[in-house]
Amino acid sequence: MGYVAIKGGGRAIAGAESAVEALRCAEGEQGTPLSLSAIEQQLRLLTSRIVSEGGLYHPRLAALAIKQMQGDTLEAAFALRAYRSTKPRLMDLPVQDTSRMRLIRRISSAFKDIPGGQMLGPTNDYALRLMRLDLAHESAEDFRAVSRRFLDGIPDANLPDTYPKVVDALREEGLLPPLTRRAHGAFDITRDPLVFPVPRSAALATMARAETGSLLAIAYSNMRGYGDVHPTIAELRVGYVPVMVPHPVTGEPIEAGEVLMTECEVVAMYEGDTTDGPPTFTLGYGACFGHNEVKAISMAILDRALQKGMRDGPSNPSEDPEFVLLHVDGVDSMGFASHYKMPHYVTFQSDMDRLRTTQDKATAAQSQPEGAQP
């Protein structure tokens, strides 16, 4: 007997698990475990991202996933998505109405002023990205004082929860085409595989839980010139959309709760279609769970690009539904990237066999002088 086969796969996996846990708790005696509430609130934008990419509105579980996966957004979204996979579907809801969103932020780039005004809300858009070193030594008292001060200063004036949508005004004037009732229900990407060509609802659903960076990169390619969208934001809204569920007995819609969402409507170059009447602007739509503006904007631009691509044929990657929709899911892409770390030695053995045979043939051919008779 000579070489002994490698064993111990099970033990190696167990060892890896305890190494991961040890790193998570590496602060040791100096450490305190992160509370889920702290992650959900103080890292709210990270939590929003995981809720959106996991495809399950459960901010507390998303916070748990972030804690468990030590901040890896791809892994955290994956954990939430896998959890979602095990939950039974209780019912399919009717289409929800985002115009009922209880707003915390709402802006329009298309108009200087809009009904209700431009509400900046919580945004860093106009903040200077200077590091706040005071945050390095934030005391519990200072922390608590912030929300006390903010809530003290709230004016009494009663603002309406929501405002009319800018796109409705554009539609009324005929600058956007009228809304059409769809003949079929929305495509369910969790139940049916994407078989191209897909309807627009399938594209939107896929992008709604896509990985933010992936969407951004492709949308950016369109913005920079590999595309024609030239968008203007008609409206960007962030707020809480009531989830209306039909009452199990009466069938009347009742509010079961609300979900934080970001919605972006982008107006793009007008299309003139002589058969359908006068030209209008075209609309790109983006929406996702949580507060994630870059994602909603990217999605709206890609929605427009894909609609154009589906109609006229793609002239660049961002207009190609297969290219976009099959490559933006973080769970799929990250899983596959990671799979390269698995053993591949049998396939590599096969590769080596091929190369050696090919090399042998090449060497044999070289050692034959040109034009020599065999």
């Binding site: 297969e322 799929d332 899983g335 799979h339 053993p343 396939t347 045979t357 043939k361």
Partner: protein, 310 residues
């Protein structure tokens, strides 16, 4: 956000086999259509599993939709039961499928889930082989659009694939595809047989057992029914060749552990830089060793018996 919200610690338990019954039924319907259309990549929704895409979620969904009490499952990766991925998948099935046995012995298994190898021991009609697939479509190398590929598959038009193989031959004097060798099933659909080595492709032909192939990320299931033709693509003057385990003296290498000269061998490099060769199929190797040990002790016993008789 409800500040008083507490995470329910005792979430409802997972159903048998992790997947809910709707998911299983969808996989089952897909499997039957796949058997009816040999080699056709049948689409399905493909649920997320707790291990990454690329780690066998497709094969796993097939296994979980088939498995039940009374089954004996074998899981291998690169031919080995102890490979990390196989260990992980087997552990998952043990967790989610109480009442199911697992085994390392090919002959004892009713279901065999495998990544990158077909077991050396021939299968029987009482067994089902499930292969894990990363890339289901052999036409991807010549056509990036799935919509166009589906038309080519439907028409059985593989001229562009054959052209690509021909170009290889012109450049290298060989077909350079190593694993994932395109193979024609029942005279129509050409499949990517998953990253099994060429060595294993002949086992797909007229096998006694059903072979199912599951791609989780790509959301496809396809099948090679039993007793069905499986012809690796080749040319009249450039035949299909399996991996060559001949040494520099023209001798077929043997496994250093069990002496087999008829199995696919792993090439291992030890700490001194020397090469060693061993069966990739760990059960095949172990079984041969066990038989050899039994035979050597058996000879001694036989002699003793004879002496007593006399």
């Amino acid at each position: 956000m409800n500040p008083g919200y507490e995470l329910p610690l005792d979430e409802a338990g997972y159903s048998f086999g992790f997947l809910d019954e709707y998911a299983k039924r969808e996989v089952r319907r897909t499997i039957l259509k796949a058997i009816c259309i040999p080699g056709y990549q049948t689409p399905y929704a493909s649920r997320e599993m707790p291990m990454g895409r690329g780690f066998g979620t497709g094969g796993l969904q097939v296994t979980l939709s088939l498995i039940g009490e009374g089954d004996t499952l074998k899981v291998i990766d690169q031919g080995a039961d102890d490979s990390v991925n196989a260990v992980n998948l087997r552990h998952f099935v043990e967790l989610t499928c109480p009442g199911v046995d697992t085994t390392e012995h090919t002959a004892e298994a009713t279901l065999i889930q495998s990544r990158h190898r077909i077991p050396e021991t021939p299968l029987t009609e009482a067994q089902v082989l499930i292969l894990q697939v990363p890339y289901p479509d052999p036409l991807v190398v010549v056509e990036p659009s799935e919509a166009k590929r589906k038309v080519m598959h439907g028409e059985g038009d593989y001229s562009r694939l054959l052209t690509k193989l021909y170009e290889d031959i012109v450049q290298f004097d060989e077909i350079t595809i190593s694993h994932r060798y395109p193979t024609r099933i029942n005279g129509h659909y050409v499949i990517d047989p998953s990253p099994i080595p060429r060595y294993d492709v002949p086992q797909l032909h007229q096998n006694r057992a059903l072979v199912l192939l599951g791609a989780g990320r790509e959301k496809k299931i396809y099948a090679v029914p039993p007793y069905t033709r499986a012809d690796p693509l080749a040319f009249d003057d450039v035949p299909f060749r399996t991996e060559d385990f001949t040494d520099d003296h023209g001798q077929r290498r043997a496994c250093e552990r069990c002496g087999a000269t008829d199995s696919f061998l792993d090439e291992l490099i030890d700490d001194d830089g020397h090469k060693h060769w061993q069966c990739s199929d760990s059960d095949y190797c172990n079984s041969r060793l066990t038989t050899q040990n039994a035979q050597s002790t058996g000879v001694v016993a036989g002699v003793a018996d004879q002496e007593v008789k006399a």
